[in-house]
Amino acid sequence: MNDLSRFTALLVEDNPDDQWFARRAFKKHSPGTNLLLAADGVEALALIGTGPRPDFVLLDMNLPKMGGREVLGALRADVATKSLPVIAFTTPDDDPEEFAGDPNTVCLSKPLDFPRMLEALDRLGLRGTAG
Protein backbone atom coordinates (compact mmCIF):
# COMPACT_ATOMS: atom_id res chain seq x y z
CA MET A 1 0.00 0.00 0.00
CA ASN A 2 2.99 2.27 0.29
CA ASP A 3 3.22 2.97 -3.40
CA LEU A 4 2.00 6.55 -2.92
CA SER A 5 5.06 7.32 -0.80
CA ARG A 6 6.89 9.21 -3.48
CA PHE A 7 3.89 11.37 -4.24
CA THR A 8 2.83 14.82 -3.18
CA ALA A 9 -0.92 15.22 -2.84
CA LEU A 10 -2.88 18.41 -2.41
CA LEU A 11 -6.08 18.26 -0.38
CA VAL A 12 -8.43 21.19 -1.02
CA GLU A 13 -10.95 21.04 1.79
CA ASP A 14 -12.48 23.59 4.15
CA ASN A 15 -14.20 21.28 6.62
CA PRO A 16 -11.76 20.66 9.53
CA ASP A 17 -13.23 17.22 10.28
CA ASP A 18 -12.87 16.11 6.67
CA GLN A 19 -9.28 17.43 6.70
CA TRP A 20 -8.64 15.34 9.79
CA PHE A 21 -10.16 12.19 8.24
CA ALA A 22 -8.02 12.59 5.13
CA ARG A 23 -4.84 13.13 7.17
CA ARG A 24 -5.65 10.08 9.25
CA ALA A 25 -6.28 7.93 6.17
CA PHE A 26 -2.95 8.93 4.61
CA LYS A 27 -1.09 8.44 7.90
CA LYS A 28 -2.55 4.97 8.17
CA HIS A 29 -2.28 3.75 4.58
CA SER A 30 0.55 5.77 3.11
CA PRO A 31 2.54 7.71 5.73
CA GLY A 32 5.23 8.60 3.19
CA THR A 33 2.94 10.72 1.05
CA ASN A 34 3.55 14.44 1.30
CA LEU A 35 0.05 15.77 1.94
CA LEU A 36 -0.43 19.49 1.35
CA LEU A 37 -3.53 21.31 2.46
CA ALA A 38 -5.47 24.27 1.10
CA ALA A 39 -8.64 25.40 2.85
CA ASP A 40 -10.18 27.19 -0.13
CA GLY A 41 -9.91 27.50 -3.88
CA VAL A 42 -7.80 30.67 -3.93
CA GLU A 43 -5.27 29.13 -1.57
CA ALA A 44 -5.21 25.95 -3.69
CA LEU A 45 -4.35 27.80 -6.91
CA ALA A 46 -1.73 29.92 -5.13
CA LEU A 47 -0.12 26.80 -3.71
CA ILE A 48 -0.06 25.00 -7.06
CA GLY A 49 1.39 28.09 -8.72
CA THR A 50 4.25 28.60 -6.29
CA GLY A 51 4.93 25.54 -4.15
CA PRO A 52 6.01 22.02 -5.03
CA ARG A 53 3.77 20.75 -7.81
CA PRO A 54 1.39 18.07 -6.43
CA ASP A 55 1.12 14.77 -8.32
CA PHE A 56 -2.62 14.77 -7.77
CA VAL A 57 -5.33 16.89 -6.19
CA LEU A 58 -8.20 15.86 -3.91
CA LEU A 59 -10.75 18.56 -4.56
CA ASP A 60 -13.89 19.30 -2.58
CA MET A 61 -16.53 20.90 -4.82
CA ASN A 62 -18.14 23.03 -2.14
CA LEU A 63 -15.49 25.54 -1.05
CA PRO A 64 -15.50 29.08 0.26
CA LYS A 65 -14.13 32.00 -1.82
CA MET A 66 -13.69 29.95 -4.98
CA GLY A 67 -15.64 26.75 -5.58
CA GLY A 68 -14.20 23.42 -6.70
CA ARG A 69 -15.60 23.82 -10.20
CA GLU A 70 -13.85 27.17 -10.65
CA VAL A 71 -10.60 25.70 -9.34
CA LEU A 72 -10.89 22.83 -11.81
CA GLY A 73 -11.70 25.26 -14.61
CA ALA A 74 -8.62 27.34 -13.78
CA LEU A 75 -6.40 24.24 -13.65
CA ARG A 76 -7.66 23.01 -17.02
CA ALA A 77 -7.20 26.44 -18.60
CA ASP A 78 -3.50 26.50 -17.65
CA VAL A 79 -1.06 24.57 -19.87
CA ALA A 80 1.00 23.55 -16.85
CA THR A 81 -1.91 21.91 -15.03
CA LYS A 82 -4.35 21.00 -17.76
CA SER A 83 -3.71 17.28 -17.28
CA LEU A 84 -3.02 17.31 -13.54
CA PRO A 85 -4.92 14.31 -12.06
CA VAL A 86 -7.85 15.49 -9.94
CA ILE A 87 -10.20 13.52 -7.74
CA ALA A 88 -13.36 15.59 -7.39
CA PHE A 89 -15.56 14.98 -4.37
CA THR A 90 -19.09 15.27 -5.69
CA THR A 91 -22.43 14.58 -4.02
CA PRO A 92 -25.58 12.80 -5.20
CA ASP A 93 -26.95 16.23 -5.99
CA ASP A 94 -24.31 16.75 -8.66
CA ASP A 95 -24.63 15.64 -12.26
CA PRO A 96 -22.69 12.34 -12.51
CA GLU A 97 -21.80 13.09 -16.14
CA GLU A 98 -20.45 16.55 -15.42
CA PHE A 99 -16.76 15.66 -15.80
CA ALA A 100 -17.23 12.75 -18.19
CA GLY A 101 -15.33 14.61 -20.91
CA ASP A 102 -12.26 15.22 -18.75
CA PRO A 103 -9.95 12.18 -18.77
CA ASN A 104 -7.90 13.57 -15.89
CA THR A 105 -10.75 13.96 -13.44
CA VAL A 106 -12.47 11.17 -11.51
CA CYS A 107 -15.44 11.77 -9.20
CA LEU A 108 -15.70 10.12 -5.81
CA SER A 109 -18.12 10.64 -2.97
CA LYS A 110 -17.11 11.45 0.59
CA PRO A 111 -15.93 10.14 2.96
CA LEU A 112 -12.47 9.52 1.52
CA ASP A 113 -12.14 5.76 1.09
CA PHE A 114 -8.49 4.89 0.59
CA PRO A 115 -8.86 1.74 -1.55
CA ARG A 116 -11.34 3.53 -3.79
CA MET A 117 -9.00 6.49 -4.07
CA LEU A 118 -6.19 4.12 -5.14
CA GLU A 119 -8.47 2.65 -7.82
CA ALA A 120 -9.29 6.15 -9.00
CA LEU A 121 -5.59 7.01 -9.19
CA ASP A 122 -5.06 3.88 -11.26
CA ARG A 123 -7.73 5.07 -13.65
CA LEU A 124 -5.97 8.41 -13.83
CA GLY A 125 -2.82 6.53 -14.83
CA LEU A 126 -0.94 7.70 -11.79
CA ARG A 127 0.06 4.72 -9.76
CA GLY A 128 1.43 2.77 -12.70
CA THR A 129 4.19 5.36 -13.04
CA ALA A 130 5.19 4.85 -9.42
CA GLY A 131 6.03 1.22 -10.11
Binding site: N15, D17, D18, F21, R24, N62, T91, P92, D93, D94, K110, P111
Partner: protein, 242 residues
Amino acid sequence: MSSALSANPTREHEHRDIRALLAMVSHDLRAPLRSIDGFALALEEDYARELEGQGLDYLARIRRAAQRMDRMLVTLVMLGRLTDRVPELERADISHIARDLAVALRERHADRPVRVEVDPGIMGVTDRDLIRIVIEELMGNAWKFTSGRSDAVIRVTRETAGPGRLAFAVRDNGDGFDLTGTDGKLFGLFQRFHPPDRFPGEGAGLATAHRVLRLLGGALSVETSPGAGAVFRCEIPEADLS
Protein backbone atom coordinates in the same frame (compact mmCIF):
# COMPACT_ATOMS: atom_id res chain seq x y z
CA MET B 1 -46.74 20.32 -21.71
CA SER B 2 -43.08 20.91 -20.93
CA SER B 3 -43.03 24.36 -22.49
CA ALA B 4 -46.10 25.36 -20.48
CA LEU B 5 -44.32 24.34 -17.30
CA SER B 6 -41.07 26.17 -17.90
CA ALA B 7 -42.85 29.30 -19.11
CA ASN B 8 -44.50 29.69 -15.72
CA PRO B 9 -42.31 32.01 -13.61
CA THR B 10 -43.78 30.80 -10.30
CA ARG B 11 -42.94 27.23 -11.24
CA GLU B 12 -39.43 28.33 -12.20
CA HIS B 13 -38.96 29.88 -8.76
CA GLU B 14 -40.26 26.74 -7.12
CA HIS B 15 -37.83 24.65 -9.11
CA ARG B 16 -34.96 26.87 -8.11
CA ASP B 17 -35.99 26.76 -4.44
CA ILE B 18 -36.23 22.97 -4.54
CA ARG B 19 -32.82 22.67 -6.15
CA ALA B 20 -31.29 24.96 -3.51
CA LEU B 21 -32.90 22.90 -0.77
CA LEU B 22 -31.58 19.67 -2.26
CA ALA B 23 -28.09 21.11 -2.52
CA MET B 24 -28.32 22.14 1.13
CA VAL B 25 -29.39 18.63 2.18
CA SER B 26 -26.72 17.10 0.02
CA HIS B 27 -23.84 19.23 1.35
CA ASP B 28 -24.68 20.76 4.69
CA LEU B 29 -26.84 18.12 6.35
CA ARG B 30 -24.62 15.23 5.37
CA ALA B 31 -21.36 16.82 6.57
CA PRO B 32 -22.07 16.47 10.34
CA LEU B 33 -23.23 12.88 9.79
CA ARG B 34 -19.94 12.11 8.10
CA SER B 35 -18.18 13.48 11.18
CA ILE B 36 -20.30 11.35 13.54
CA ASP B 37 -19.62 8.20 11.54
CA GLY B 38 -15.96 9.05 10.93
CA PHE B 39 -15.08 9.78 14.55
CA ALA B 40 -17.02 6.71 15.72
CA LEU B 41 -14.89 4.68 13.28
CA ALA B 42 -11.72 6.34 14.60
CA LEU B 43 -12.74 5.45 18.17
CA GLU B 44 -13.50 1.90 17.11
CA GLU B 45 -10.14 1.50 15.40
CA ASP B 46 -7.88 3.36 17.80
CA TYR B 47 -9.47 2.52 21.18
CA ALA B 48 -10.87 -0.97 20.59
CA ARG B 49 -8.75 -2.35 23.43
CA GLU B 50 -9.88 0.24 25.99
CA LEU B 51 -13.52 -0.19 25.09
CA GLU B 52 -15.37 -3.17 26.48
CA GLY B 53 -17.55 -5.30 24.19
CA GLN B 54 -20.50 -3.17 25.12
CA GLY B 55 -18.67 0.05 24.27
CA LEU B 56 -17.89 -1.33 20.82
CA ASP B 57 -21.53 -2.33 20.43
CA TYR B 58 -22.62 1.24 21.24
CA LEU B 59 -20.20 2.55 18.63
CA ALA B 60 -21.47 0.08 16.04
CA ARG B 61 -25.00 1.31 16.74
CA ILE B 62 -23.97 4.95 16.37
CA ARG B 63 -22.35 4.13 13.04
CA ARG B 64 -25.31 2.13 11.76
CA ALA B 65 -27.72 4.93 12.63
CA ALA B 66 -25.52 7.62 11.05
CA GLN B 67 -25.08 5.55 7.89
CA ARG B 68 -28.80 4.84 7.69
CA MET B 69 -29.60 8.52 8.01
CA ASP B 70 -27.05 9.30 5.33
CA ARG B 71 -28.69 6.79 2.98
CA MET B 72 -32.05 8.35 3.70
CA LEU B 73 -30.71 11.82 2.90
CA VAL B 74 -29.22 10.54 -0.36
CA THR B 75 -32.59 8.96 -1.22
CA LEU B 76 -34.31 12.23 -0.44
CA VAL B 77 -31.96 14.13 -2.73
CA MET B 78 -32.35 11.62 -5.57
CA LEU B 79 -36.12 11.63 -5.22
CA GLY B 80 -36.17 15.41 -5.09
CA ARG B 81 -34.08 15.62 -8.25
CA LEU B 82 -36.35 13.15 -10.02
CA THR B 83 -39.59 14.83 -9.16
CA ASP B 84 -38.19 18.24 -9.96
CA ARG B 85 -37.71 17.39 -13.60
CA VAL B 86 -40.06 18.04 -16.48
CA PRO B 87 -41.01 14.80 -18.26
CA GLU B 88 -39.95 14.44 -21.90
CA LEU B 89 -42.47 12.53 -23.95
CA GLU B 90 -41.24 9.94 -26.43
CA ARG B 91 -42.19 6.46 -27.58
CA ALA B 92 -41.30 3.93 -24.89
CA ASP B 93 -41.16 0.16 -25.27
CA ILE B 94 -42.09 -0.90 -21.75
CA SER B 95 -41.75 -4.63 -22.52
CA HIS B 96 -38.22 -4.05 -23.77
CA ILE B 97 -37.31 -2.00 -20.70
CA ALA B 98 -38.67 -4.72 -18.41
CA ARG B 99 -36.72 -7.47 -20.17
CA ASP B 100 -33.61 -5.33 -20.02
CA LEU B 101 -34.06 -4.82 -16.28
CA ALA B 102 -34.62 -8.56 -15.77
CA VAL B 103 -31.20 -9.21 -17.30
CA ALA B 104 -29.62 -6.64 -14.98
CA LEU B 105 -31.35 -8.11 -11.92
CA ARG B 106 -30.20 -11.62 -12.83
CA GLU B 107 -26.64 -10.42 -13.21
CA ARG B 108 -26.73 -8.68 -9.86
CA HIS B 109 -28.27 -11.65 -8.05
CA ALA B 110 -26.87 -14.65 -9.89
CA ASP B 111 -27.53 -16.79 -6.81
CA ARG B 112 -31.32 -16.64 -7.22
CA PRO B 113 -33.28 -18.41 -9.94
CA VAL B 114 -36.22 -16.11 -10.63
CA ARG B 115 -38.43 -16.61 -13.65
CA VAL B 116 -39.36 -13.33 -15.32
CA GLU B 117 -42.19 -13.25 -17.88
CA VAL B 118 -42.93 -10.08 -19.81
CA ASP B 119 -45.97 -9.57 -22.04
CA PRO B 120 -44.79 -8.46 -25.48
CA GLY B 121 -45.72 -5.16 -27.05
CA ILE B 122 -46.48 -2.96 -24.05
CA MET B 123 -45.81 0.38 -25.72
CA GLY B 124 -46.63 3.90 -24.65
CA VAL B 125 -45.75 7.52 -25.14
CA THR B 126 -44.14 8.71 -21.93
CA ASP B 127 -40.79 9.73 -20.43
CA ARG B 128 -38.58 6.70 -21.10
CA ASP B 129 -36.08 7.34 -18.29
CA LEU B 130 -38.80 7.99 -15.74
CA ILE B 131 -40.91 4.95 -16.65
CA ARG B 132 -37.73 2.87 -16.48
CA ILE B 133 -37.22 4.03 -12.90
CA VAL B 134 -40.78 2.99 -12.03
CA ILE B 135 -40.35 -0.49 -13.52
CA GLU B 136 -36.91 -0.85 -11.94
CA GLU B 137 -38.25 -0.04 -8.48
CA LEU B 138 -41.25 -2.37 -8.86
CA MET B 139 -39.24 -5.26 -10.30
CA GLY B 140 -36.55 -4.76 -7.64
CA ASN B 141 -39.27 -4.81 -5.04
CA ALA B 142 -40.76 -8.00 -6.50
CA TRP B 143 -37.31 -9.55 -6.64
CA LYS B 144 -36.74 -8.77 -3.00
CA PHE B 145 -40.08 -10.00 -1.70
CA THR B 146 -39.87 -13.31 -3.57
CA SER B 147 -36.53 -14.13 -1.92
CA GLY B 148 -38.21 -16.73 0.29
CA ARG B 149 -39.36 -18.81 -2.69
CA SER B 150 -37.40 -21.24 -4.81
CA ASP B 151 -40.06 -21.01 -7.57
CA ALA B 152 -40.16 -17.19 -7.69
CA VAL B 153 -41.96 -15.72 -10.69
CA ILE B 154 -42.18 -12.05 -11.65
CA ARG B 155 -44.56 -11.10 -14.43
CA VAL B 156 -44.94 -7.81 -16.23
CA THR B 157 -48.39 -7.81 -17.81
CA ARG B 158 -50.49 -5.57 -19.96
CA GLU B 159 -53.67 -4.49 -18.16
CA THR B 160 -56.94 -3.05 -19.38
CA ALA B 161 -57.40 0.67 -18.91
CA GLY B 162 -59.95 3.33 -19.79
CA PRO B 163 -59.78 5.35 -23.01
CA GLY B 164 -56.62 7.44 -23.33
CA ARG B 165 -54.88 5.45 -20.61
CA LEU B 166 -52.22 2.76 -20.66
CA ALA B 167 -51.89 0.24 -17.84
CA PHE B 168 -49.43 -2.48 -16.96
CA ALA B 169 -48.67 -4.43 -13.82
CA VAL B 170 -45.71 -5.99 -12.06
CA ARG B 171 -46.87 -9.22 -10.39
CA ASP B 172 -44.98 -11.48 -8.05
CA ASN B 173 -45.69 -14.66 -6.09
CA GLY B 174 -43.74 -13.47 -3.05
CA ASP B 175 -44.65 -12.78 0.56
CA GLY B 176 -47.31 -10.16 -0.09
CA PHE B 177 -48.38 -7.59 2.50
CA ASP B 178 -51.21 -7.12 4.91
CA LEU B 179 -52.74 -3.86 3.73
CA THR B 180 -54.97 -3.47 6.78
CA GLY B 181 -54.23 -0.23 8.54
CA THR B 182 -51.62 0.92 6.05
CA ASP B 183 -54.09 3.35 4.43
CA GLY B 184 -51.97 5.27 2.01
CA LYS B 185 -48.79 4.81 4.03
CA LEU B 186 -47.55 2.03 1.76
CA PHE B 187 -46.31 4.61 -0.73
CA GLY B 188 -44.98 6.96 1.95
CA LEU B 189 -41.25 7.67 2.03
CA PHE B 190 -39.22 5.52 4.49
CA GLN B 191 -42.23 3.39 5.39
CA ARG B 192 -41.33 -0.21 6.02
CA PHE B 193 -43.72 -3.09 6.44
CA HIS B 194 -41.27 -5.90 7.09
CA PRO B 195 -38.52 -6.32 9.66
CA PRO B 196 -35.26 -4.90 8.19
CA ASP B 197 -33.30 -8.11 8.90
CA ARG B 198 -35.69 -10.04 6.62
CA PHE B 199 -35.93 -7.57 3.74
CA PRO B 200 -33.29 -4.83 3.81
CA GLY B 201 -33.94 -1.37 2.40
CA GLU B 202 -34.86 2.14 3.41
CA GLY B 203 -38.49 1.98 2.35
CA ALA B 204 -37.98 4.25 -0.66
CA GLY B 205 -38.74 2.01 -3.66
CA LEU B 206 -42.53 2.23 -3.69
CA ALA B 207 -42.43 5.89 -2.68
CA THR B 208 -40.19 6.56 -5.68
CA ALA B 209 -42.41 4.61 -8.10
CA HIS B 210 -45.51 6.33 -6.76
CA ARG B 211 -44.07 9.84 -7.06
CA VAL B 212 -42.61 9.29 -10.51
CA LEU B 213 -45.92 7.92 -11.80
CA ARG B 214 -47.72 10.93 -10.39
CA LEU B 215 -45.21 13.19 -12.14
CA LEU B 216 -46.15 11.39 -15.38
CA GLY B 217 -49.82 12.07 -14.70
CA GLY B 218 -50.38 8.46 -13.74
CA ALA B 219 -51.08 6.43 -10.64
CA LEU B 220 -49.88 3.38 -8.77
CA SER B 221 -52.18 0.92 -7.01
CA VAL B 222 -51.60 -2.37 -5.24
CA GLU B 223 -53.47 -5.61 -4.63
CA THR B 224 -51.95 -7.96 -2.12
CA SER B 225 -52.49 -10.07 0.95
CA PRO B 226 -50.08 -12.06 3.14
CA GLY B 227 -48.74 -15.12 1.35
CA ALA B 228 -50.57 -14.29 -1.87
CA GLY B 229 -47.95 -12.25 -3.72
CA ALA B 230 -48.53 -8.71 -4.91
CA VAL B 231 -49.77 -6.91 -7.99
CA PHE B 232 -48.57 -3.35 -8.56
CA ARG B 233 -50.66 -1.71 -11.23
CA CYS B 234 -49.33 1.34 -13.06
CA GLU B 235 -51.55 3.56 -15.11
CA ILE B 236 -50.33 6.43 -17.23
CA PRO B 237 -51.99 8.73 -19.73
CA GLU B 238 -51.66 7.54 -23.32
CA ALA B 239 -50.05 10.74 -24.54
CA ASP B 240 -50.18 11.83 -28.15
CA LEU B 241 -46.82 12.63 -29.68
CA SER B 242 -48.20 15.16 -32.15
